[in-house]
């Protein structure tokens, strides 16, 4: 599957919650407990997806903000969008009219390929019950 650079996408699903922290995005599927992390350029891309920007516009922003070429950014955003679609985190929406220009960046940042990190085993790890063979654990009061 290839991504049309004029297409626009939006986060989807009522179970999806997300937050942007210092430019990085963290998403959680509230139903499954799966966490996703989008750092650096991927976080910036997510922010633009939330605004309904086209793939081409997102790539343009990345190549302006980070030390990468427009072609590379376009290819990487296309791959990221495919990953997000695979995970049902976004859905295609009607193409939006071009938005105003993003703020000009004075110094471009080092670029790392935008990637989606996912953590599917959080519930399992939360349920890990360390046997603590040996020393017994004190009964503890409820935290106030």
């Amino acid at each position: 599957m290839t991504i049309d650079s004029s297409s626009c996408y939006r986060p989807c699903g009522e179970n999806l919650a997300s937050t942007i922290i210092d430019g990085d995005a963290v998403l959680v599927n509230l139903a499954t407990g799966v966490y996703y992390s989008l750092d650096g350029a991927a976080g910036a891309a997510w922010e633009m997806i939330e605004k309904g920007r086209s793939v081409a516009a997102i790539a343009q922003l990345l190549s302006a903000r980070y030390e990468t070429t427009a072609e590379q950014a376009l290819a990487d955003v296309g791959n990221l969008v495919l990953r997000l679609l695979d995970e049902n985190l976004i859905a295609q929406v009607e193409t939006q009219p071009p938005a105003g220009a993003e703020p000009v960046v004075e110094q471009r940042l080092p670029y790392r390929t935008p990637e989606l990190a996912m953590y599917t085993d959080m519930a399992d790890l939360l349920a890990l019950d360390p046997p603590m063979p040996g020393l017994v654990t004190a009964p503890t009061p409820e935290r106030k």
Binding site: V26, G33, T120, D121, M122, L126, P130, P131, R143
Partner: protein, 369 residues
């Protein structure tokens, strides 16, 4: 060196991992390393930050953020961790991996030169470790993985074979001071089981074995120190077998009192069904010169050497437990020989100074890589 410890719980919590990470941090501080700790509050009303024994301790609500899926808490914790790491500038981060809080480490690690060492202090066999799991990321992205027994190393490598060349064993140690026998009696012998009272610990096997042991040695008592969800079942089992009068359920016991209990026991029994990652109770018994009967599972056979420091029996085998127990109760010389050998091995192979040395060497190697 600047070392950042990362552990789900830390002092004043008193579980095995909490106590060990605390003692290791203090020992490293005494060797002129700068140590800080990132941890959680657990269910104690602890402050978010404090300095304990010269060690900066920061506590964040990782568990609350993740279990309640609270992105506001998650964002705040992530930001605070990032700021603390930026200020502290660790040479390496040593994670005691028991929970998903390690996600906050990876989320704040990008671009950092600090090395990551992961100690796996619990059994992970059967955990899902495919692509997209935090467990896989943690094992494969770590610069080094430490297992606490060869059995656990083998389990970890079976989950992530590619880490074989950067995974080693550092055996647990207990810095409780080596003490002597506190007066164990073989005339009115006590068999001691210590730990969380859950089915997997196999304490029911000790109760099951008791009637036959009592037929040969009617003065024997069984003491179970610890509490847990299986206790009502065990109490009912003791009544059903007619041995309730010979079994004492001590409930939760202050860890400071455990060495005394061990010292007064004729034999310490570790009848676990699950793959114990190590065998802390067995090691404590050895420190106290007590013979151990343990199941041959997980890391236990690396701690309890069969016919040298104790007797190993198959898992889930009450008959073997009867035989092993009676063998020791009837042969005090054998019991004392095993206990003495256990003490020697506890003082050498599992010495706390050696434990600190091994970590220090690993840290230096990682820093210089």
């Amino acid at each position: 060196m600047k070392i950042l410890f990362w552990t789900e719980l830390y002092w004043p919590h008193i579980g095995g991992i909490e106590v060990r990470s605390h003692r290791l941090a203090v020992a490293l501080k005494a060797r002129d390393h700068e140590v800080a700790v990132i941890t959680s509050h657990g269910n104690l009303p602890l402050s978010d930050r404090e300095c304990h024994e010269g060690i900066e301790v920061r506590r964040y609500p990782f568990q609350e953020a993740l279990s309640a899926k609270r992105l506001d808490l998650l964002a705040a914790a992530r930001k605070a961790v990032q700021e603390f790491k930026r200020d502290f500038r660790p040479d390496l981060v040593h994670v005691f991996f028991t929970d998903p809080g390690v996600m906050f480490h990876w989320m704040t690690h990008s671009g950092s030169a600090a090395r990551t060492i992961i100690t796996v202090p619990i059994g992970l066999r059967g955990s899902q470790c495919g692509d997209g799991t935090l467990l896989r990321q943690t094992l494969t992205q770590a610069d080094w993985v430490v297992a606490i027994s060869q059995a656990m190393r083998s389990d970890v490598i079976s989950l992530a074979p590619e880490i074989e060349g950067r995974c080693s064993v550092i055996y647990n140690s207990l810095d409780i001071g080596i003490r002597s026998n506190c007066g164990a009696s073989f005339d009115t012998p006590t068999l001691l089981c210590v730990g969380r009272v859950v089915r997997e610990k196999g304490f029911d096997l000790a109760i099951q074995a008791l009637p036959e042991i009592l037929r040969a040695r009617p003065e024997t008592r069984l003491l179970i120190a610890g509490d847990g969800p299986a206790r009502p079942e065990l109490e009912a089992q003791a009544i059903a077998l007619g041995v309730a009068g010979r079994v004492t359920f001590a409930g939760w016991v202050d860890p400071a009192e455990i060495p005394g209990l061990i010292g007064r026991a004729a034999v310490v029994v570790v009848p676990s069904r699950w793959r114990e990652a190590f065998g802390n109770v067995a090691l404590q018994a050895m420190q106290m010169r007590r013979p151990v009967i343990a199941t041959a599972t997980g890391g236990l056979p690396e701690v309890v050497l069969h016919e040298v420091t104790g007797l190993l029996i198959p898992v889930d085998d009450a008959t073997a437990l009867v035989s092993a127990t009676l063998r020791l109760l009837k042969n005090r010389e054998l019991a004392e020989r095993l206990g003495s050998a256990g003490k020697r091995i506890a003082e050498t192979r599992f010495a706390f100074d050696a434990y600190v040395d091994e970590h220090e060497r690993l840290y230096a190697r990682m820093k210089n890589q």
